[in-house]
């Protein structure tokens, strides 16, 4: 895959921008380059997220990977501050785990290369 590292950094950018813009959340990000894949772990805390917002985030994010769209649209990720590209993030990842614990959210994304 071409531009793989750039795609990873744009995914991180998009997710971080989303949580900063909408919730001004405390954020911790880890990126693990592994054999044949990248694993990204995000920990957001002290966020005031309603049940509806959480469900909307989940619905937008948890979609099937779609390489037929990714190669074309990946350059849009991380471009706009009022970011609404969570669906695009979902389309670029093979596995998405989203968990909520009180005012904290943990998100783990895996992208195979």
């Amino acid at each position: 895959m071409k531009h793989e590292q750039k795609k990873i950094s744009k995914i991180v950018d998009e997710v971080l921008t989303y949580f900063l813009y909408h919730f001004n959340a405390e954020s911790r990000i880890e990126v693990f380059p592994e054999q044949g894949r990248y694993r990204m772990r995000f920990q957001f805390s002290k966020l005031d997220i309603s049940d509806q917002q959480y469900e909307e985030l989940k619905a937008g994010l948890v979609v099937k990977r779609q390489p037929e769209l990714e190669d074309y649209y990946w350059q849009l990720t991380g471009e706009i501050e009022e970011s609404n590209e969570m669906m695009l993030i979902g389309m670029m990842c093979d596995s998405i785990e989203l968990t909520r614990n009180g005012d904290s959210i943990q998100l783990e994304l895996v992208r195979r290369t």
Partner: protein
């Protein structure tokens, strides 16, 4: 709706068109018309209803649509909003510019690109389908550049393949110019590529220039048939909801509250039921728009309606489109163009490429986008000489990239103050 049903749905319109084309006129008449379509100039605005007649145009649209559906099926691509938009766009433009001859070199060029890059064709299929916007380049060189037929055909196919080859990386890159606020991004890309190629051609004395050929009368048959089809889409959407109107209302609300900015796949954001209803409603809105402006149902207008319906699965809905349509009409009242002319009507229909401006910044912003769009679209065609069929997408790229940062700055300052 499972994948098999989704493919059946996607095949239904082109199959009906093909069937209609075969029935409506004797095959000998349609066959001759199809040959005229294949050898037509095809540059903007070349109405195939005027060139080849109703039967041949329907056969051409049906076959182009079925070719697109077959490619989607062969590549095992999910029938998502972008691919519904792509297939309907190919069908729509098969009424004025795309035909069963000139689309192949572009598709082949994109296929070559994926082979060179070592990626599956499915990864560039969407760009390839939309990329047939530059198909007139093939027709022009094959039959109208003043070259001997074998030389012309070889050059036409070669140039078509070349643009198909360069479109995938360019299309992705061009998104950043307007940040996804111009839904017809390939239109903008095609405009840039077309202008580049035409400038080179003109320096070798090839005169590429747009020429308007339109049918003079309105086809009532199309008004009636398409209106019925749009109502059927709505009924099908209601049927798919299995009478769970609360869930349907929720998914409709998610669709209608989407800005429409790329990538807004309504099949994912809503579901199949809400997407079909939105497509049907947008079809009726577009038809009403044409009828209110007393426009003719000619090839380009039908193409515009089909494209709007397709993109109602991928970013367009009544709330973000109507302000843009109103802006174009308002502009035609005060500017030098007649409101009822085909060029103004299609500027309105295709101008809904700017729907995300309205969806993101509000209806007044959409009105302004439509107002300025009419002026820009009337002035950019000369750059590519009509070789880029999505001229409104080309213009929309300029309008979006100019207006979006300004609206964004004012929206932001209002938020911060």
């Amino acid at each position: 709706m499972n994948e098999k049903q989704a493919f059946l749905f996607l095949s239904a319109l082109p199959a009906l068109m093909l069937l209609g084309g075969l029935i409506i006129e004797p095959l000998s008449v349609s066959g001759e018309g199809l040959l005229r379509i294949i050898s037509a100039r095809s540059l903007l605005l070349n109405d195939y209803l005027a060139v080849g007649g109703v039967g041949a145009t329907l056969i051409n649209a049906g076959l182009c649509g079925l070719i697109s559906v077959a490619l989607v099926a062969i590549c095992r691509v999910q029938v998502s909003g972008p691919f519904i938009a792509a297939v309907y766009t190919v069908i729509g433009f098969a009424f004025f510019g795309k035909n069963i001859y000139n689309i192949w070199p572009i598709l082949a060029g994109a296929l070559c690109y994926t082979r060179v890059q070592g990626i599956p064709f499915r990864n560039s299929l969407l760009v390839a389908l939309f990329g047939t916007t530059l198909a007139p380049l093939v027709s022009f060189f094959s039959f109208h550049a003043g070259l001997a037929p074998p030389v012309g055909i070889v050059l036409g196919v070669l140039f078509g393949a070349m643009v198909g080859f360069v479109l995938p990386p360019l299309a992705s890159h061009m998104l950043r110019f307007h940040d996804g606020y111009n839904i017809y991004n390939i239109g903008f890309t095609g405009g840039v590529v077309g202008s580049f190629f035409v400038a080179v051609f003109r320096s070798f004395r090839f005169e590429v220039a747009a020429e308007i050929t339109l049918v003079e009368y309105s086809h009532r048959l199309f008004e009636i048939c398409f209106s019925v089809f749009f109502v059927v889409l709505i009924v099908l959407g209601l049927y798919l909801s299995r009478a769970n109107y609360r869930a349907l209302g929720d998914s409709m609300w998610r669709v209608l509250s989407s800005s429409g900015r790329l990538v807004s796949d309504f099949v994912q954001i809503g579901d199949h039921a809400s997407t079909l209803i939105n497509m049907g409603v947008m079809g009726l809105v577009s038809t009403l728009f044409v009828l209110l402006l007393q426009g003719s149902f000619n090839g380009p207008v039908i193409g515009g309606i089909m494209t709007v319906v397709g993109f109602a699965a991928f970013g367009k809905h009544p709330l973000n489109c109507i302000p843009v349509l109103a802006g174009v009409v308002l502009a035609s009242f005060v500017k030098v163009w007649e409101t009822t002319t085909t060029v103004v009507i299609i500027a309105g229909l295709f101008g809904t490429t700017l729907a995300p401006i309205s969806g993101q910044f509000g209806p007044l912003a959409g009105l302004a986008a439509g107002f300025f769009h009419l002026s820009i679209v009337m002035n950019v065609g000369i750059l590519h000489g009509g070789i880029n069929l999505y001229n409104n997408g080309f213009a929309g790229g300029f309008v979006a990239s100019f207006l979006a940062p300004i609206f964004d700055a004012f929206a932001r300052s209002r938020t911060t103050s």
